[in-house]
């Protein structure tokens, strides 16, 4: 390979051995500490599966039922553990089926290493059976990718892949390996990658930028923090909490930042964004200093940029220089790893409180509670709400479960109402909004953290996008709890049709199958709830089950999620109804 890298010999490096490329792939994965990977076999990757068979007591390959499931399962594994998730597929359709998961990981900065088999190198470019230019196809949705055609290049490519996937701003990496490279032999020696010459994953935090940020914050009357997943990826939860508490700053989170600070923390003022909380959205346009930490001012967070926090000084902490000034012009940019930069900020901050400013958030919360939350969590109407299901789950989990949500109304409800005590507990497809994410991601999460309670919250639409993964749950005995909030609609799209397309419900109503029978067909314990009286008991039964459990809750068909910032509107124009 042409790029210069720094490699360090592994402490326990096996002495050089002559082995096959496919064995080198498996040994390289093991050298990176991989004990679980998700995938699906096929012609161009069969030599590797043959090696996985030999090493099955050391490395557990999980056969998903679709390669998309493998990619999302690897994502779930990575999101809950902070480790690199690994997915494997054959060439052609196997590889292309990974793409949605890879794109999801790219936009949500999830570390993945995907290994695909490829036709033998002499057939490349000949339109061979199951040949597809997966390096070309995956280029726009990977942090890095490469094709390996020589056996001796395998260890270095895999070492580089893991290093790039996990370092700096994490992301997905794809290594495409031709079948002849898998069959060929090499002298195997594994050296972990410690650096790539052209790649600077963590910019140094300058003390000057910290001082400038601290000065703005120390003089602020109405400071507000919005943190994102950068806090979780940087393992900076403690540092964030310390900063918030020392300077007494109300702090809100983006959807991917959820759970970095317990939801019960007195300075946690809720979620920003399209279906976020009323107070932090409204007061974004009232604060005098906005401190963005490890977030990227996504349009679902900012609404119209022309009217976003124009009155405020903006401080932006990020590891990725390309995020600075990308969407919102900053006054002070603080580059670097959030763990270090927040620790430096802590030292430079004055102790402070902002009681009357915090009171403004509480006042707006009261309004949101009266207009929205009360009806969601304590409904008086007959139909069940999604919110009351989440409330029951909170009661049973005591806020200690990991919540894996799919995409749609149920996702917004899950993110709004879940209690979180533990970090890395909100696993959802944020940037890409991939329906079908939750069921496989929950499998990966549960397998990475078997001691954790993992509850998947899924809509009746998205559930049917990767429903085949029930087979994986059954075969792997993964004790995932699955909740389908069935409104018999593609609810979120229907909500938009109601609000913006005069209720023309084009192709959003679904005639659904017998979900309980399907789960039972996979030998998964299943129950359906239609009436409020049954809900508490059913949730309790699910949460106390030692095995996987499927719970369908039939909810009101045409409920809407509020608050809502209509797309393109200002955060100030957030609607409560």
């Amino acid at each position: 390979m042409k790029t210069q890298t720094i490699n360090t010999k592994q402490e326990v490096a096996e002495k050089t051995q002559r082995i096959s490329g496919s064995e080198a792939i498996v040994r390289s994965l093991m050298a990176e500490g991989v004990d679980i990977l998700y995938g699906y076999p096929g012609g161009a990757i069969m030599p590797v599966y043959d090696e996985l068979y030999k090493f099955q007591d050391k490395i557990h390959h999980v056969l998903t039922r679709h390669e998309q499931g493998a990619a999302h399962a690897a994502q779930g594994y990575a999101r809950i553990s902070g480790k690199v998730g690994v997915a494997m597929a054959t060439s052609g359709p196997g590889a292309t089926n990974l793409i949605t998961g890879i794109a999801d990981a790219q936009i949500d900065s999830t570390p993945l290493v995907c290994i695909t088999g490829q036709v033998p190198s002499h057939l490349l470019g000949s339109d061979a059976f199951q040949e597809t230019d997966i390096v070309g196809i995956s280029t726009p949705v990977t942090k890095w990718n490469c094709q390996v055609t020589k056996s001796e290049d395998i260890p270095e490519a895999i070492a580089k892949a893991f290093y790039i996937a996990r370092s700096g701003r994490p992301g997905p990496v794809l290594v495409d390996i031709t079948k002849d490279a898998q069959f060929g032999e090499l002298d195997f020696k594994y050296e972990k990658c410690k650096g790539v010459r052209s790649y600077y994953p963590v910019p140094k935090t300058s003390q000057a930028s910290i001082n400038a940020a601290a000065e703005l914050i120390n003089n602020a009357k109405k400071p507000m923090i919005v943190w994102g997943q950068g806090v979780i990826l940087g393992q900076a939860e403690e540092e964030l909490k310390a900063v918030i508490e020392k300077a007494g700053i109300p702090a809100a989170w983006t959807i991917l930042g959820a759970s970095a600070l317990p939801t019960s923390h007195p300075l946690n003022i809720g979620m920003v964004g399209m279906h976020g909380n009323y107070a932090p959205n409204k007061l974004t346009n009232e604060c005098d200093v906005l401190i963005a930490i490890g977030m990227r001012f996504d349009d679902r967070v900012t609404g119209s940029l022309d009217t976003y926090a124009k009155q405020a000084k903006i401080i932006h902490f990020d590891i990725d220089p390309a995020e600075i000034d990308k969407n919102v012009k900053t006054d002070v940019a603080v580059l670097g790893n959030s763990k270090e930069s927040l620790a430096m900020l802590f030292d430079a901050l004055n102790e402070n409180t902002h009681e009357s400013w915090l009171q403004e958030f509480k006042n707006l919360y009261t309004i949101e509670f009266e207009k929205v939350i009360k009806n969601d969590l304590h409904p008086t109407k007959e139909g069940l709400t999604m919110g009351e299901v989440l409330k029951q789950i909170n009661i049973e989990s005591k806020g200690n479960a990991a919540i894996v949500s799919d995409v749609g109304q149920h996702q917004m409800i899950a993110c709004r109402y879940s209690d979180f005590n533990i970090t890395k507990s909100n696993i959802t497809s944020g940037g890409l909004g991939t329906m079908g994410f939750a069921l496989p991601a929950a499998i990966g999460a549960k397998m990475a953290a078997p001691e954790r309670e993992v509850v998947a919250i899924i809509g009746d639409g998205g559930y049917q996008m990767n429903i085949q993964e029930l087979g994986t749950i059954f075969q792997q005995k993964a004790a995932v709890k699955i909740v389908v909030l069935n409104n018999e609609f593609l609810g979120m799209v229907r909500q938009w049709q109601q609000l913006f397309f005069d209720k023309r419900y084009a192709s959003t109503e679904m005639t659904n199958p017998n979900f309980v029978a399907i789960a039972e067909g996979y030998y998964i314990k299943a129950r359906k709830v239609i009436k409020r009286e049954e809900l508490a008991d059913a949730v309790k039964e699910m949460m106390t089950s030692k095995e996987s459990y499927f719970l369908e809750v039939c909810v009101e068909k045409e409920d809407n999620v509020f608050p809502m910032i209509p797309s393109g509107a200002s955060v100030s124009d957030i609607r409560l109804s």
């Binding site: 790039i164 052209s198 990308k326």
Partner: protein, 177 residues
Amino acid sequence: MNEEIKSLTISVYTENNIGLLNRISAIFQRRHINIESLTTSQSEIDGVNRFVIVVNVTETNAIKIVKQIEKQVETIKAYCHTDEETIFTESCMFKIKSDLLFDEPQIQNIIKESDSNIVTVNKEFFVLEKSGRRNEIESLRRDLNVFGIMQFVRSGRIAVTKDEMKITEMLSAFNNQ
């Protein structure tokens, strides 16, 4: 906020990697930015490539693009410069019927005045080469067009910057790590 659209030269130092051209051009494509020209070659450092990309965009957008390019793992460093900050040139070739060289005495004058060179002559055709600014090349093309051009081709811009790039320093910092 109507920022001026300028002709800007983006210079990129990269590892010599097959897929990188795709990654870099995709950054422009996604943002619907037309690439006026793109050339890539060996740079002053062995094994390091240099891209010279000319685009018409605002400086704000150019800076965002430069950051996106730098974000690519195999990019060493990217810069953006205005025309005034660089020394640049393009080159072109004309293939013309040899008869004209003798039948049209005017052509000889045009060649002399335009600072172009005859690369080769045979019985059928001769080839003229010129490097310079776009307007000089264009005016030569117009002048020769009167007599008929068999083939014309022009390269993209190549440019060096007036200020230092310090790539060697960056790379040695890595090697001393």
